[in-house]
Structure formats: C-alpha cells, structure tokens
C-alpha cells in the first residue's frame, strides 16, 4: 500500500465529499428553513447533468454546458416549488416524502422520454484534462482538483451568503422561527422559492461537474441523493457547516473504505472474496457511520433541533 495510492484516495474522497456537499448544502437549507424533505433533489442533479451534456454536446463548450446546467436546474427547481412544493410546507413528512417521490418518477421518466435510455456523454474540457504533478511526485487529474476547488469556493460563498448578507440573515431567521419572519414582513414565498432554486442550482452544478467523470444517465441522481441525506443526517439538519463536515466524512469513508477494506480482508482470505466482502462492507460503512453518529448524537453532529 503505497503512500501515493493513499494520498490519491484521500484526494478522491475529498473530491467526492465536496460534490456531496453541493447536494447536501441545498438539502439542508431546504429542510432547515422550510422544514421540507425533498426527495426530488436527486432529480435536479440529473437535470443539471443532462442540460450540461446536451448543451456542451451541441455547442462544444463545457462552460456553456455549466451555465445551462445552472439555469435548467434552478428553473426546474423554481417551477416545482411554485406548483407543488409550496403546498407541502405545512404537510407532514409522509406527504412530503410521497409528493417528492412522485416528482422523482415524473422527472426520471420525463428525462428518459426526452433523451432516451442510453447515457449521454459529457467530456472534460481539454483545458482541464490531464494530470497535474503535485508536490511529492503524485500525478492527480487536474479536473478533480478543479472540482475540489469549486466545491471549496462554493462552501466559502455559501458561508459568506449566510453570515454576511441580508438574504443570509433572513435564512438564519427563517430557520429559527418561520412564523416570526413572516410577521416581520419578509416575503416568505419569494424567499422560499429563492432558497429552493438556490439549492436546485447547487444540485445541478454538482450533476454537471460529476457528469464529466461518470456517465450521464437517468437514475444517476438517486444514489447521490441518498448519500446526501446521510450527509445531512450526520452533519445535523439545517447546518451548512454540518453538511460540509458530514460530506467530507462520508466522501472519505466511502472512498477509503472501498480501497482499504478489501485490502484488509485480503490479509485473511483470497483476493476475490476479499474484494467482494470488502466492497460490500465499504458500501455499508457509511450507514454504519450514520447509525453510530445518531446513537451518539440523535440530531447529528451540528444539529440543533430534532
């Protein structure tokens, strides 16, 4: 087990983590401020990826694809917020789960109807392809480093938004007492639509960025959605900081677990069994992690309310 491999995997874990953070940040904002469980978040991720692939494929410009992803996802988000989601804020969790599950069905089949069942391809732009040599002699894909950078930048941007702007004040106030800010004259419905669209845009961005390193296909959003929920549960619902910490934890566990657990088992059994058991346990690992966190802190690491 070389150090190079370990560092590469750590970087992969961080990269997975920051992409998860983009998803989780939106989810936790939406749940924290509006009290809404949004299962359709994975669909918004998918919409972003498809928009990026379609536009980039047509124009040849990755940047155009990204812009399209942000636009499509936030528009889709705003649309479903106005038509469906806003009727759910007062509803109980079961209704929210069901309605957003219904949205998943509509989005998935809708996208399949428009684009077909075969995956689309989104290429890494030439300028960002190829490896970069890091200190210590490690070659690491430039694109993944860029992703890490973008993720961190978004994290900083969100922090600045929440802590330093008026919108951020309204968001934080809304998390604490929804009825109060309405009474204080803040236009709640516009605020909510804005927050939902913001979350959607982040999801779409993540979808587009990741779509270049994985394939763009229907159903790509759901595994990420579940991971993102695990992240916000671990981090504590409503906390952006928790979403970040949780995302990095989950990203590292998923990546390092996938590499090391088979290796550990390889010490005891043959390679084939080790790989399969190791892989199985690696995927289980994050759920075990979530379970452990919840047993210790039932509202997550940074969560306040249940």
């Amino acid at each position: 087990m070389s150090t190079i491999l370990v560092i590469e995997q750590i970087l992969n874990g961080v990269q997975l983590g920051v992409m998860l953070f983009l998803m989780a940040a939106g989810l936790t904002l939406i749940f924290g401020v509006m009290g809404l469980i949004n299962l359709a978040h994975g669909s918004l991720y998918m919409v972003g990826a498809f928009a990026a692939a379609a536009v980039a494929g047509a124009t040849g410009s990755f940047l155009a694809g990204l812009v399209a992803a942000l636009a499509a996802a936030s528009l889709a988000g705003a649309l479903i917020e106005v038509t469906v989601i806003r009727r759910l804020y007062a509803a109980d969790h079961l209704d929210q789960v069901l309605a957003t599950f219904a949205l998943i069905l509509v989005f998935s089949e809708g996208v399949r109807w428009v684009f077909g069942s075969f995956p689309l391809y989104l290429d890494i732009p030439d300028a960002l392809s190829g490896p970069v040599t890091l200190p210590g002699g490690i070659d690491y894909p430039l694109y993944r480093l860029v992703l890490i950078g973008i993720g961190l930048a978004v994290g900083l941007g969100l922090w600045w938004l929440i802590e330093r702007t008026r919108l951020g004040i309204r968001i934080r106030a809304g998390e604490n007492d929804r009825e109060m800010i309405a009474a204080l004259g803040v236009d709640i419905s516009k605020l909510y639509t804005l927050i939902f669209a913001l979350g959607a845009a982040l999801a779409g961005l993540a979808g587009a960025l990741v779509g270049a390193i994985q394939s763009v296909q229907v159903g790509m959003g759901e595994p990420v959605l579940i991971l993102a929920f695990v992240v916000i549960v671990i981090g504590g619902i409503g906390s952006i900081r928790g979403a970040f910490v949780g995302a990095i934890l989950v990203g590292l566990t998923e990546t390092l677990g996938g590499v090391f657990l088979p290796a550990v088992f390889g010490l005891f059994t043959d390679a084939a069994t080790a790989t399969s058991i190791g892989a199985a346990l690696a995927s289980m690992a994050i759920y075990v992690l979530m379970g452990a966190v919840l047993v210790w802190r039932p509202t997550g690491l940074f969560g306040g309310r249940a």
Binding site: F31, L94, A102, W113, I226, V230, S276, S283, P298
Partner: protein, 327 residues
Amino acid sequence: MISERWLSLGVLVALGGVALAAMALDTPYTITLATRAAILALAAAGLNIALGLGGLVSFGHALFFGLGGYAMGILAFHAQTYTPLDLGLFQITGTKSMPVIWLAAVTLSALVAIPVGILALRTTGVYFIMITLAFAQMFYYFTLSWSAYGGEDGLSIYVRNGFPGLNTFDPIQFFGLCFTLLCAVLWLSARLKRSPFGLALGAARQSPARAKAVGLSPMRLRLVAFVLSGAIAGLAGALYADLNRFVSPAMFGWHLSGELIVLVILGGVARIIGPVVGAGVFVMLEHFLGQITDFWQIWLGLILLFVVLFARGGIVGLLSPKGGRHG
C-alpha cells in the same frame, strides 16, 4: 358513500373474481397479475400496521421484503443444488417446502426488525425515515456483492416451491394460497386495530404525551408494531420471490420501499382494505398504462401527486369517508 365493510368485501371478491375469471378464460398471465397484486397488497398491509396505525414512516420496509425473499432464495437454492447450507457450527439442508420457508422468512424478518426497531425508534421525523432507509440500503449493498447467491444478477429458483396437498405450479392454486394469506393478514389487522393494543398504538401516534400520561409506553408499542409489520412484509417477500422464481438485491431497493408506501397511501392509509386497493390500482396501471407507453410511471407520479395534494384519504377515503375506527 359505501360502508367500509361492504367496500372491503367487494374489493376482495373482485380480486378473487378476476383470478377465477382468468382461469375460466384460460389467460394465466392475468392470474399472475392478480397474484402479484395480492402479494404486494400483503406487503403493504404489513407496512400499514407500522405506518397507518403506528404513524411510523418507514422508508426501509424493503428490508423485510428482501429478507423474506432471500430466506426463500437461499433455502430453495440449497435444496435445488442438493448442497447443505454450511453455517460453520451446523448445517441446514435446503428446503422447497413453502410452510417451512414462510416460517423462516417471518422469523428472520421479525428477528432483524427487533434491533433495527430499537435503534431506529430512538429517532423521530426525518431521522427515522433516513435510518430505516439506511438499514435497507445496507442489505442492498451487501447482497449486491454477495456473489455466493448471485450478487447483482440475483438468484434463480428453477422450480416453484411446494405446498403440501397443492399443485403450486398451477397459477390459480398459487393465487389461492397468496389470496388466503392476504385475507388472513387483513383479518388479523382488523382485529389488531380494534384491540387494546391497536387503541394504545393509535393514541401513541395521535398524542404521545397523553399515552405516557396514562401509563403507556409509546416506544414499546411502536416496536411491537414495527416487528409485526416487518414479519408480514417478510412473508410477502418470500411469496414474491416464489412468484417470480427469482430473488435479487432490488428487493431491498429504496424504490421498492417507496412503492410500498405509495400502495398504502394510494389505497388509503390506515384503512384495512387500503393496501389491496392500492396494489390493485398499481398493478393495473403498470399493466394497462405500461402497454400504452413505456413511460407509464410519469402517470403514476402525477396520480400520486394528485392523491397527496387533494385526496389525502386515498381511494378508500374517497369512496368511504372516514367515520372513525368503525368498519
């Protein structure tokens, strides 16, 4: 409006009638559809005990469905390959006898439901939803890489399992089995709902503070409901695997968990016959709409949205508006 008693009877007669008519018309595929509906209804009826009576939004009931399926798959696999299951300390010979398999499925599901319930019920709200989902996902990924039993490709059981005195290959007889089990579980649920346990559970759902103030323990009540619910879903899973003669990790999938909730809600949450109505409508949509368009799930999604936003009592709620727990 229709009284719930007559509605329930009518729905069951309709389901049985469809199967019998299909037999008379020699369209075995329709019998299979009816069987599918009956089995899904059984699973949903199990979920309804936790969800409808107990108010527990479990997004992981596929866990028990899958456990039942794999209980059947593993036991039947070892029987059909004539190799015993080696558990180190002792060996279990496989079996293709349904009663034994059902017992195994129910027991396994109940045993797993106990620790899962104890852990999950420490949480509420979205945390509970996530934790139940997480447990199902754990098993999903585990079976995905469990190559001994097919992994991602799943496990095929070549021949349907046997039930003493019946020819289970005959579609109508297998349907009869499933239908009988469904009716038995529905009857049990109806009794449960009106029993002291059902009353206490319902109170714990509506006002936990009140339940505690009269000396009840909501946690224990919910745990028992959860375990019962899981055991029934496990039985359904074993039957489902037998229907398709196939078991795969998808039986643990979150999509299935979601579908089970959909079945319950579509039919009418906490109504005894709700799961059957929901399963029936679902299977019909799948079949008929599926023939018209490959994208029938869009319509399912839209119908579901409609029900959630405008018809919260489900189909049974529309036909037989709630008059309380009577019926």
